[in-house]
Every structure is written in C-alpha cells, then in structure tokens.
C-alpha cells in the first residue's frame, strides 16, 4: 500500500479496494515501526487520523467524495493545527497548541484528507539540512548518514521512506525543492500569493510559500488543487482563478521553449548533477521542446540579497516570541529584561539567533541603506531578469541544488557554505515565481533534482512539463531502500 501514489490511493479508495482506515492504519504502523531511524515526525496524530479516516470512509461510501478524501498525508510542523502541537522545530514552541488551523490545513480537512502527523523541520524553517531542529536531525532515507535537505526535511524524508504518500511543506529560499532534490521527490513551490499563508508560522513573510512534496507531478497537481485557495485572511494572497491542475498534465509540450540559464552551470555545481541535468535537457528535446540558452545576469547576487532580506524580516517576525503570552518562558525571571533575554536565549537555537542578529543589524540606523535598501533593489533586478527571460521562454530549467545529499556536519561550521545550497533556488523566491524540483538521476547512488521555474501563476504549465518528463523517464519511481 505504501508504494502507491495519491492518484492510485484515491482510485482504490473510491473503488473500495481498501478503506481509508486501513491505509491510514498502515501508514501509522509504518511510522511507528520505522521512523525511529529517520526522525521525520515530531508529532504523530494517531487518534485524530483514525477519526478522520472513519469520517472519510463514510463520505466515500456515499460515492460522492472528492479526490483527496481518505488519503493520508503529513503536514510540516510549521502549519498551525487546532488542538495539536505546532512546534516549528523550536524549543520556543515545544508545547504550543494553536487555537486555529492554518488555511491549508483546513483546506485538506475539508477535502477529506487524513493528517498522520506533523513533520520535523529546521527550526523556524531556517536551514538547508534539517540539522537545526530542536527535535533532532532527520535522516535521509537514501543514506542515513546524509541530510535530507531542509528546511522541509521531515516532510521529504517521510515521503521518501514511504511513511506518508505526500506531505505539505514550505519554501522560503528552496526549502521544498532542495529536500525534494536530495530525497528523490517531486517538490512544488507555487507562485507567491497562490496559497494562503494564514496559520503558517512566518520566517520571511515576503518569501514564504506553502507547497507540496510528493512522489509524482500528478500528485503535486492533486495536492495543489486542494491547497490553493483565495483567502481574505492573508492580504498577500492573490485572487486569481484556480484551474484544475490535473486537467493540463497531459498537454503536449511539442514546440515549448525551455530556457537554460548559463549562470546555473558554473563553479560549485557537482559534475554528476550537471550531467544529470544535461541528460534531462536531451529528454526534453526528444519530447519536442526547444531549448534556448538564456541569461539571468543578476543570479550571483541572489544569495547575498536573500541573506539580508530574509533575516531582516525574520528579526521582526520572531519578536513575538518574548515569553509573555505563549511559548517558552524562562524560570523565575528577575525583571522584564531578564524575561526577554533568557526566554529568547533558551528558546531559540544558534541558527535562529544568527539570523535575528544579522537581520537586526541590517535594519539598524546607519546600515539600512547599505543593506536592506540595496538588497531590495537587487531583488527588483532579479525579478526583472525573469520577467525579461519569460518574454522568450515558457519554462526555465536548471539544477535544483549543487550536489547530492551531504553528510551530517559537513557544512556545520560554515554557514555560508550551507547558504550556497540554495544558490539556484533562492532567486525564484525573491521573484515570487513558482518552481519545482523533479528527480533526474542518481549521483553517488543518491538522487539529484531538476529544477523547473515557471512564470507567475503558471503552475499548470510547470506541472504539465514535469509530468511529461515523468512519463518519459522513471527517475521518480526510484525509491530509497528502507530497512523494513
């Protein structure tokens, strides 16, 4: 059962081949049996899952249930879930229970999907290896000595180990696509504003976007159909029509123009990854797409701009964690300053502190113009690069991350080396564009991903291009060997 995709599970549920309760129990058993190795879940919601499955089975029995009804999934622990702990991977929120559901969580509930639990993540989504989680690092199912990527490492690992058919995730600078690449999955980060951010704990508000980690592009389309909604509770949510993303999966891509930015094949790219991406380009040519070399001239500025803007926003976003109303509070504070200093000092881990410090500095009097203002200017230039590029091409293609999964601790002492993990993915967030990562080969027996970037709100096109690749190749069907 755990080998199945959402599309397959849905079909079998509708045809009553098994019940939601059966498949939910199957995944719960697997998580309990196997997740000791991967640590991909922070909270397992067994009781709630079984109750939801029972309700879903009743709905399925009527013969009129939506596609996701009864399908078990996992949610990244950044999404608030009413009555269930939401930790954001931090000691600060170790025991935090939100009094509301994130919009995407309630969208899945409404669609009848079953929540298995909440997945592990880098603390406050700050990290590219899932090593910053207060709840311990997550192991990559392809090689448990390697990282699964981050920050959505738990969501990626649980799908890769087939502990869940799919999981929600978030992407601020690559946090869906990079773990997808490192765990051999299909990851989708939609256009900024396509999916509501209500109830998603903010890291960098202008960059954060919810998305999905799945086994196939088809499953991404099914997941996005439910996740995307216009939400008046999020002022940055865009009221654009939401198509049926599965309807265009099988469109022909003959004559489609795919842009390949020359800046994405420079120094730092693993030769194995480069070869896998080049092979993917050939596949697309065979499928009838036209390949065009393009230039995104400001690419090299994306990491520095991001590491000013994201910390600046996070320095303000994380100010609410002050020990006053909820979250971690130090023992016996002597006075107000002591309450702030120790609650935050104890509640946040080193990477979060580093980013708060960087962001605070970048916004300080006398530095604002040199850092924050300049970074915003660079951001506009990067966005303009893409706007210009999309005048000539339909989709942009390149590597997702520079190399396959690396060993734990390999980049631990060097934050900048870690930040370079996102060198190809960050520009998409700065521009607000949708991006995907799909498996395109194995390097050193570990998966690597192909990144596809679409125009604003062109998720349908992106999923179509990804699905056509998956019809022509079988990289997405390769599974990590799980020690059953």
């Amino acid at each position: 059962m755990h080998n199945l995709t959402i599309a397959e599970i849905s079909k079998k549920l509708q045809e009553k081949e098994f019940s939601s309760k059966e498949i939910t129990q199957h995944f719960l058993d697997r998580i309990k049996r196997l997740d000791g190795t991967y640590n991909s879940f922070i909270t397992l919601t067994e009781q709630e899952a079984l109750a939801q499955a029972e309700a879903a089975d009743k709905r399925l029995a009527t013969g009129d249930a939506p596609t996701m009804c009864g399908v078990p999934i996992a949610h990244k622990d950044i999404f608030c879930t009413q009555g269930v702990k939401t930790t954001c991977g931090s000691r600060m929120l170790e025991n935090f229970i939100a009094p509301y559901d994130a919009t995407i969580v309630s969208n899945y509930k409404t669609a009848g999907a079953v929540t298995l639990g909440k997945t592990n993540m880098d603390e406050f989504a700050m990290g590219s290896s899932n090593e910053t989680s207060y709840f311990g690092s997550v192991k990559n199912p392809w090689d448990v000595e390697c990282v699964p990527g981050g920050s959505s490492g738990g969501s990626a690992a649980c799908v890769a180990a087939q502990l869940a058919p799919a999981a929600s995730a978030t992407d601020t600078g690559g946090s869906i696509r990079q773990p997808a690449s490192l765990c051999g999955l299909t990851g989708l980060k939609p256009t900024y504003g396509r999916v509501s951010r209500w109830g998603m704990i903010a890291f960098a508000s202008s960059l954060d976007q919810a998305g999905t980690l799945t086994k196939t592009a088809e499953d991404s389309a099914i997941m996005l159909n439910v996740m995307a909604s216009y939400d008046a509770k999020d002022s940055t949510c865009v009221n654009e029509p939401i198509p049926d993303y599965t309807a265009t999966l099988n469109d022909s891509i003959k004559g489609l123009t795919i842009g390949v930015p020359k800046e994405y094949f420079g120094e730092g790219l693993h030769p194995g990854t480069e070869l896998a991406v080049k092979n993917a380009i050939e596949t697309y040519e065979k499928l009838g797409a036209k390949i065009k070399e393009i230039s995104l001239p400001h690419s090299s500025l994306s990491v520095p701009a991001y590491y000013v803007i994201a910390p600046a926003e996070c320095s303000a976003n994380l100010s609410r964690f002050d020990g006053v109303r909820y979250g971690h509070r130090c023992e016996d504070p002597k006075n107000l300053e002591d309450l702030y200093m120790r609650s935050r000092g104890e509640g946040f881990g080193p990477e979060v502190k580093r980013r708060i410090l960087v962001g605070t500095y970048a916004l300080s009097a006398g530095y604002y113009d040199a850092y924050y203002s300049k970074a915003q200017k660079v951001r506009r230039l990067i966005k303009q690069d893409f706007v210009d590029a999309f005048k000539d091409v339909d989709v942009i293609l390149g590597p997702t991350s520079p190399s396959p999964a690396f060993k734990f601790g390999a980049k631990g002492d060097d934050p900048v080396a870690m930040y370079l993990e996102d060198i190809y993915t960050i520009a998409t967030n700065l521009a607000g564009l949708p991006g995907m990562s799909i498996p395109c080969g194995l390097v050193e027996d570990k998966p690597v991903g192909l990144q596809l970037i679409g125009n604003f709100f062109a998720e349908g096109k992106l999923l179509n291009v990804a699905h056509q690749f998956q019809l022509a190749t079988d990289f997405h069907t390769l599974r990590a060997k799980v020690d059953e």
Binding site: F79, C80, T86, P99, S235, R325, L363, S364
Partner: protein
C-alpha cells in the same frame, strides 16, 4: 532676556471604527481585560493582519478636512521594539508614505486673531495594549483589548508659540474629528492623547532650542499645565547656565508633574521597514472624491452658517459650532423654541454650568433639547419669567419630564395681567405714606423707592409677577 516658546504637537486620535485596524475584534471601551483580543491581537504565530477599510476612510476624511494632500499610495511599516503590551514586538505604522500629507488647521486666538498651524503629516497606525502596574503584587498585568485599535497620529509643524495656542489647536483638532464623526472625542477614555514637543529660544533667534517631548497628556488642562511647567523648567535651566537635554518625559496626571523617561542616548533604534504582510494601499481619485462629497459639515463652515442663519455673534457661533454634539443640541433647541439667541444663551449659560458642575458631556444632558426649547417658548409667551424658568429648569434637571407639567403641578405661572393690576391697586391703597413720599421725590430717588412696591407685589404673588410688566404698571399707577 525675553524667551520664545516653540511647540509642536503629536496627537493620537482613536478612530471610532467598530473593529480593530487589522483584526475583527471589537474596539468598544471598558470590556473585561483581554476579552477583546483575538489570535491576531495576541500575535499568535501564523496570524496575519488584514486592513480595515473604514480606518482608511476615516483617515482620508481627516486629511480632506485639514486641506491635506491624500497619500494615494500608503505603506505600512514595522516599528520594532520590545514591550509586554506590544504583542508582535513591533507596531504597524506608517513612516515614509503616510496616508495624509501636509495640510493645515486655522485656530482663533483669544484676541480674535487667526493663526495657521501647519500639519506635517498624519498617519494610520495601531494602538498598543495597556500595562497595569498596580494590583499584581510586584508583577504587571497586560490588557490587550486596546491593542490594534486604529489611530491616526497627527504631527504638527513647530508653529505653536504658547500654551494657549497649543490648547486652541488641540481643541480645534478635537472639534474637527468629532464633527467628522471619526472619533468619539472622549479624552477620559484616551480617545485623544497628546505628545508635546517643547523648546525655548531667545526672542528673535531663528535657530530652535533643544526640545523635550512630553508624552501621554490626555486633557487640555494637563497640556496647559505641562507646557507652563516645562517652559519654566527649560528657561530656569538655561538661565542658571545649564543646558536642555533632548529627552522624552512622561506626564503624571495624578501628581501633575513630568519626569524624564529616557534621554537621546537611550532612544530606541526602531529599525523601521515596510511590513511584508501588508501590500501598499492604493487609493484612486474616485474613492477620494466620493469621500469628499460625503464629508459632513466642518466646524469652520458651521460657525459661518450659525452667524448667517441664526444671527449669532461670531463669538457665540464659534462656541456653539465647535463640537458636533453641541451644535446639534443648539440647532434642535432652536427648532423647538424658534429663538436662536435665547437658545444660545441658555445652552452657554445655565445648561453649560450644570454640565460642567457634574462633568457631563452634552450628550448626557439631563434636560433634552426638546424640553429646553419648550421652556424657552414659555418664557417667550410670558407664561414664565426668566427667574421662574430657572426654577423649572431645576425641576427638569432633577428628573421632571415635561415643562408644562412642572408649571402646572408646581404652580410656576406668571401672575395674569388683571390679577396683577388688582394686586398693585391693593398695595398702593394700603401704603398711602409710601405713595406720598414717592410722588414727592425726584426721578433719581423714585428709582430707588419703587423697589419697595416691587417687593410688596412680589411677596403677594410669591415671585411670579413679570418684572417688566410690574415695573410698567407701578410707574403708570403711581404717576
């Protein structure tokens, strides 16, 4: 040395919206602590702000009322600082691109002179909660009911030169926002609060002196006191060879003293930056025009109308037009009495004295405009003398419902003409000596002597004789 005072005001005005600026919580005053604070107001993780359209509408109304440029694009920014009653750790406010740009307000000084005070800008922002430092055994209590209440902060240019001007300006702003109906104007509930920037300089010097900012003044009286004290403090300091330090001071309304809160060195670096959760708000001309068309009457226009329509003196018109509720009371009273001048006199006299004595706003008046109007009618139709009318007013104020009922049941009626003539005849007949004396006296003495007869008649009528009529009657009959 002659000193000149330079004052600039920052005025926080709570907007009278039903709900908060970024959440659906009620803004009503006086609820139990933290019962009007939802997940957004408490800054739960994952919550997001959604702007309240009404707050923008009110801010635009204010901008139009002070002849200001309206910011067609306005941007919310985050002002970062930690305080327990600031749940997000930043205040959402406007800085570089506020909703209201430069404008001005004209004030009338006591000598009748007009003066223009320029407004630098006014911006929308959210209020913080309240920290309660008493009753918590050495700890502090936090009430977030007020957190997120919409404010406009009005920033004046340093055009004010005295505490009188400052108070006149503050009163004018109060008058404008209450006339617009965008603020309830209740200062005791903090609906309007003032921060006063004060400096002094030798008369004739162009350069400004070092200023201090005194925060948290919530009455005109406090403002007046605070300015006087601070000006004196600064002048004494300089004359004693010292220097004014740039600092923020906090005024204590209980002790009527201000003390330094923080110096320039300790000033926060607020690290403002545009709030990424809120997009820039773009207002189009149509929206602004529609608000312009629907603006209610403003105090200045109303004062002009009161002089032309009701024939009031500019002074009376100024007083009665300043506050919307007073103006409405006056117009309703006039409608009921058909006498604007008498209505004005009664409102500015008897009624205003009673309201002041009991610290009531006119909205809480115990005598309605309808009854006051009726009372004035009874003076005009000579049922009541002014003196009697005041007694009737007393009864109304104590809870009596109707003017005519009071007259009826208490017997407050002016003595009728025939009856009065009979009583006068009687008094003349029974006091022949006084009559003789009167008739023998000259004009000047007579004026004094007539008092005796007035007194006798009033005694006989229990004070209910119309004094003018009585006087005329006595003069006629005494010859």
């Amino acid at each position: 040395m002659q000193w000149e005072t330079v004052i600039g005001l920052e005025v926080h005005v709570q907007l009278a919206t039903q709900s908060k600026i970024f959440s659906g919580s009620s803004t009503a005053f006086g609820a139990a602590p933290n019962t009007q604070a939802n997940a957004i107001d408490v800054a739960m993780p994952g919550t997001l702000p959604v702007p309240n359209e009404q707050a923008f509408r009110y801010a635009v109304m204010f901008g139009l009322a002070i002849n200001a440029d309206i910011g067609k694009r306005s941007v919310f920014e985050r002002k970062n600082y930690f305080y327990p009653d600031l749940p997000k750790g930043y205040q959402t406010t406007q800085l570089a691109e506020p909703i209201v740009g430069t404008g001005y307000v004209d004030i009338t000084l006591e000598n009748g002179e007009e003066k223009r005070i320029r407004i630098h800008h006014a911006h929308l922002e959210e209020d913080a909660g309240k920290s309660l430092h008493e009753d918590f055994h050495g700890m502090s209590g936090i009430d977030l009911n007020r957190a997120g209440t919409p404010l406009i902060e009005i920033v004046s240019e340093p055009d004010i030169r005295s505490s009188d001007e400052a108070v006149a300006f503050a009163r004018k702003l109060h008058s404008i926002v209450t006339s617009l109906g965008i603020c309830d104007g209740d200062m005791s509930q903090g609906s309007m609060r003032f921060d006063v920037n004060i400096s002094v300089r030798p008369k004739g010097q162009e350069e400004f002196g070092t200023r201090t900012e005194t925060k948290n003044l919530n009455s005109f009286k406090f403002m007046e006191k605070c300015i006087a004290q601070e000006v004196e403090r600064q002048i004494e300091l300089i004359e004693d060879g010292g220097k004014v330090e740039q600092q923020t001071r906090l005024y204590d309304g209980d002790t009527h003293t201000a003390k330094a809160m923080r110096s320039k060195e300790e000033a926060n670096d607020y690290r403002y930056f545009p709030c990424p959760d809120l997009l820039p708000v773009i207002l189009d001309d149509q929206y602004i025009d529609e608000i312009r068309q629907s603006l209610p009457e403003l105090p200045d226009a109303r004062a002009i109308r009161f002089t032309s329509e009701y024939g009031l003196s500019p002074y009376d018109a100024g007083i009665l037009s300043a506050e919307a509720d007073v103006a409405a009371f006056f117009e309703a009273t006039t409608k009921a009495s058909s006498d604007a001048k008498l209505s004005a006199n009664w409102i500015m006299g008897e009624l205003s004295a009673r309201l002041n004595a009991e610290e009531l706003s006119i909205g809480k008046s115990k005598v309605s405009s309808e009854q006051l109007g009726k009372l004035i009618t009874r003076i005009k139709d000579e049922t009541l003398t002014s003196k009697l009318a005041k007694q009737v007013f007393d009864h109304l104020w104590q809870g009596a419902a109707d003017v005519d009922d009071v007259i009826e049941t208490q017997g407050f009626k002016t003595t009728g003409d025939d009856e009065l003539a009979g009583i006068v005849d009687n008094i003349i007949a029974s006091n022949p000596q006084q009559v003789d004396n009167y008739r023998a006296a000259d004009e000047i003495k007579r004026k004094k002597m007539i008092g005796f007869f007035v007194g006798q008649v009033m005694k006989a009528t229990q004070g209910q004789a119309n004094p003018q009529k009585l006087n005329a009657l006595l003069q006629e009959k005494l010859g």
